[in-house]
């Protein structure tokens, strides 16, 4: 029955777009390698700025809901990102926040530790290689002798896609493991029943430890924390049990524990497990609980080993966290 339906079904209309992203997500789409042929067979790419020359105007001309599936990667950092997010939401049936940045803000979201002013000042004024005596900053609108030039407005805060428009699904990862994308894509193509709106797809419900092959025990008692280079990793014992902070326990599986396979602790790009009210607090709680001293001063000493808690527990999710940004 499903097959029959498939035969008669028109090809899926698909779009891929990036907001404030690095392009890695788009590469991950290209990296479907052979599966690319299945994708092309099943879908018409109606909008993909890397590869196609469909114009913004063309997208605007589409009727609402014309696009069946949009993979939106990247965070929302400026007026252009926001505009496109809203436009694509309007034109798309199933909008997927694709990758860590769209999911929870990602690495660009670390900019919420600072402000537009501080960033401009650093990049355009105080940067050691910059010569800018007149303190010229880029302007959204600027009159050159020949006419007016425009560039998008740079916002003070980074937001995740879901904080700007209504998102149907989240497909996490920095970048998402290509196999996960193909699975989700095929599920949609085959018209399989999709999980409830707002769900995370293409990632496991269980966190990294389930897949991690390192030796684990209940010996999660930590007398001091180490930076990765401060220990000689034996290559086989749970990082936490070696005193190195690993986001694995609080990070969804699905990536194939790729960082850990590279002997690096999990960095958390796949985001928190279902229903986590805050992406970092649970791990913070777990880590603190592991501290194996009771004297306040000794506890403080151990805590001081954690040099950058906010940047560690919210590495990919600062905008998506309860506090969202640094108060200034």
């Amino acid at each position: 029955m499903a097959n029959k339906k498939e035969d008669t079904k028109p090809k899926l209309k698909m779009a891929v777009y990036w907001g404030a992203a690095c392009g890695g997500c788009c590469v991950s789409v290209l990296d479907v390698h052979e599966a690319l042929f299945d994708v092309v067979a099943a879908a018409d790419l109606v909008f993909w700025p890397i590869a196609l020359d469909t114009k913004y105007a063309d997208v605007e001309a589409m009727e609402d809901g014309y696009i069946d599936l949009t993979l939106f990667n990247g965070a929302v950092r400026n007026s252009e990102n926001e505009h496109m997010a809203k436009l694509l939401r309007q034109k798309t049936k199933v909008l997927v926040a694709y990758g860590s940045c769209a999911h929870m803000g990602g690495i660009p979201g670390l900019a919420n530790f600072t402000t537009k002013e501080e960033i401009f000042k650093r990049v355009y004024e105080t940067s050691e290689s910059t010569v800018n005596p007149d303190k010229i900053y880029p302007q959204p609108e600027f009159e050159v002798p020949e006419g007016k030039l425009e560039i998008p407005v740079f916002y003070n805060d980074v937001r995740s896609l879901g904080q700007v428009v209504d998102v149907d699904y989240y497909l996490p990862g920095c970048p998402p493991q290509t196999e996960r994308l193909v699975e989700v894509f095929m599920a949609i193509v085959k018209g399989e029943e999709l999980p409830p709106k707002g769900s995370v797809v293409g990632a496991n419900v269980k966190t990294q430890c389930e897949e991690c092959e390192r030796k684990k025990s209940d010996n999660k008692l930590i007398k001091r924390f180490y930076r990765p280079w401060q220990i000689e990793d034996d290559g086989e014992t749970c990082f936490l049990e070696q005193g190195v902070i690993c986001m694995g326990p609080a990070t969804r599986g699905g990536c194939g524990v790729r960082c850990i396979k590279g002997n690096a602790p999990c960095r958390g790009c796949y985001g928190p497990p279902p229903d986590a009210p805050d992406p970092g607090a649970k791990m913070m709680s777990a880590i603190a609980t592991m501290i194996d001293v009771n004297d306040p001063d000794e506890i403080q000493k151990v805590v001081d080993d954690i040099d950058d808690p906010a940047g560690t527990f919210y590495r990919f999710s600062l905008p998506g966290s309860i506090l969202r940004r640094k108060m200034t």
Partner: protein, 487 residues
């Protein structure tokens, strides 16, 4: 005054926008290339542990993450005042060569070849990678995909990810190489060498044997007389991972040769209010505006500039091709923008050869992967050659190794001014009164742009690619009279 908006990806979608202003005679008056993106890594890296940065900065660019990973890793080494042990250094280089092979293959076949193999003015429908495959045969097309994938697999094997690698740690690497893995990579590297030679043969047969193409390459609109920048080893041979930065002038004589920590003596960046991307220039020469020539500090950092700035290639086969190119194009240095494609293939061959050398080096399977970190971290600069230009990372830290300041000059940024000028020159040469601006013309303009393989993931963050183009013919009030679109 007429105003043409060549909007590679229109502003609201866009990641790079070209404004062409013509005078009333219809001749090009001025051209602006605008970059609408900024993310501020230099600021928000502050406060992070320095070893974190080699993972964080790969997110500057998902197209050449390996380059940022390497530059950052080297900066971190410098911050701790250590050199990785030989094995670690070689593993890094091995990874990096694979990264170059993967990137250069992609660029030549997917982006450059269509213009030459198929033809710059050939019908749009054929002027793409499929057209290339049609011309050179399907099995080659499959080979292209295969080689690119193999190169990525090597990166994934060494770096965990194939994109955002986790290989480097201050003073070393996280993972060694087993003998089996080495053997496997050795075989793959042999394949790279063969494939690179084959690619050069295609270039030779299809491009160099075709007078029309050679003309295009040497033809005016596509040449600029700029300073050339590139990383070289102790013998002034091209090196991507290590060495000093050498800059030669328009005649090929050395302007400077600086160690990474000296970059600020030679390079400065300028800010324009109409673009988020800064404009680097040679500090000692100074900024004279968007003009070429010896008095202008504008330089380029590309495969061609790297070859211009060097005395040759460090591997035999690549050296041969190096000599052949300069012979064919009338001696060093070459200023023909389109020669960058040739230079890129020579670099591909070098990467492949060096990849093989490293895979055959007995030291590559050593177990000493990490230098001892006993000095107090302070400050360090790391410089590598990214596919798209010299990449500089500079970090300052407190005594715990937490970053207090960071400064980054990414590959494509070096070429920001040069790209503006190439576009202006191409536009001036091609868009004239009476000339119908059609798809062919636009592609010819775009070719100037594409030659730089501009990775605006790094700089603006659009990916290198066949860029959609559109020209609006507007009246004085800016109303669109006619629109020409590619395809």
């Amino acid at each position: 005054m007429k105003r043409y908006t060549i909007d590679p990806i229109t502003r609201l979608e866009g990641h790079g926008k070209i404004e062409i202003f013509c005078n009333d005679d219809g001749d090009v008056d001025n051209v602006y290339f605008q970059v609408p993106e900024l993310r501020g890594f230099e600021k928000f890296c502050e406060g992070r542990p320095v070893e974190e940065l080699s993972q964080i900065v790969t997110k500057i660019c998902g197209v050449c993450p390996g380059c940022h990973h390497m530059a950052s890793g080297k900066a971190a080494d410098a911050v701790f005042g250590v050199e990785p042990p030989p094995t670690a250094k070689k593993i890094r280089e091995l990874f990096y060569m694979a990264h170059f092979v993967h990137s250069h293959i992609a660029h030549f076949y997917a982006l450059a070849a269509p213009d030459f193999v198929v033809g710059p003015t050939a019908p749009k429908a054929e002027r793409n990678v499929l057209g290339v495959i049609a011309k050179v045969g399907k099995e080659i097309g499959t080979e292209v995909i295969k080689q690119r994938r193999i190169a990525q697999e090597i990166q994934a094997l060494l770096g965990g990810h194939q994109t955002h690698v986790v290989l480097n740690t201050p003073g070393g690497v996280r993972k060694g190489l087993t003998e089996e893995e080495r053997k496997d990579i050795e075989e793959k590297a042999k394949g790279f060498v063969e494939f690179s030679k084959f690619s050069l043969k295609i270039f030779n047969d299809v491009v160099l044997q075709n007078k029309e193409y050679v003309d295009i390459i040497l033809n005016g609109p596509y040449s600029l007389s700029l300073y050339s920048m590139g990383l070289v080893d102790d013998n002034n041979k091209v090196n991507f991972y290590d060495g000093k930065v050498r800059v030669v002038d328009q005649e090929g004589s050395e302007h400077c040769k600086y160690a990474p920590n000296e970059y600020r003596d030679w390079v400065a960046e300028r800010v324009e209010p109409w673009s988020y991307l800064k404009f680097p220039f040679l500090k000692q020469v100074g900024w004279k505006g968007f003009v070429d020539g010896k008095d202008s500090g504008v330089y380029h950092a590309t495969p061609l500039s790297r070859l211009n700035a060097s005395d040759g290639m460090a591997t035999p086969a690549a050296q041969e091709e190096f000599e052949k190119m300069y012979e064919t194009l009338g001696g060093k240095p070459v200023h023909a923008t389109l020669a960058m494609h040739w230079a890129r293939l020579i670099e591909l061959l070098y990467s492949a050869e060096h990849c093989l050398e490293l895979a055959q080096d007995p030291e590559i399977t050593g177990t000493d992967l990490q230098a001892k970190l006993d000095k107090t971290p302070k400050e360090g600069v790391g410089i590598v050659e990214a596919q798209r230009g010299t990449l500089t990372h500079h970090y300052w830290t407190d005594e715990k190794g937490l970053v207090t300041k960071a400064n980054i000059i990414v590959g494509t940024t070096n070429n920001n001014a040069a790209i503006c000028m190439s576009l202006k020159k191409a536009a001036q040469g091609l868009i004239k009164k009476g000339v119908t601006v059609d798809d062919g013309i636009l592609n010819m303009v775009e070719m100037a742009f594409r030659a730089y393989d501009p990775c605006f993931s790094c700089a603006t963050h659009s990916l290198p690619g066949a860029m959609p183009m559109m020209v609006n013919f507007r009246d004085l009030d800016g109303n669109i009279l006619r629109t020409v679109k590619r395809n």
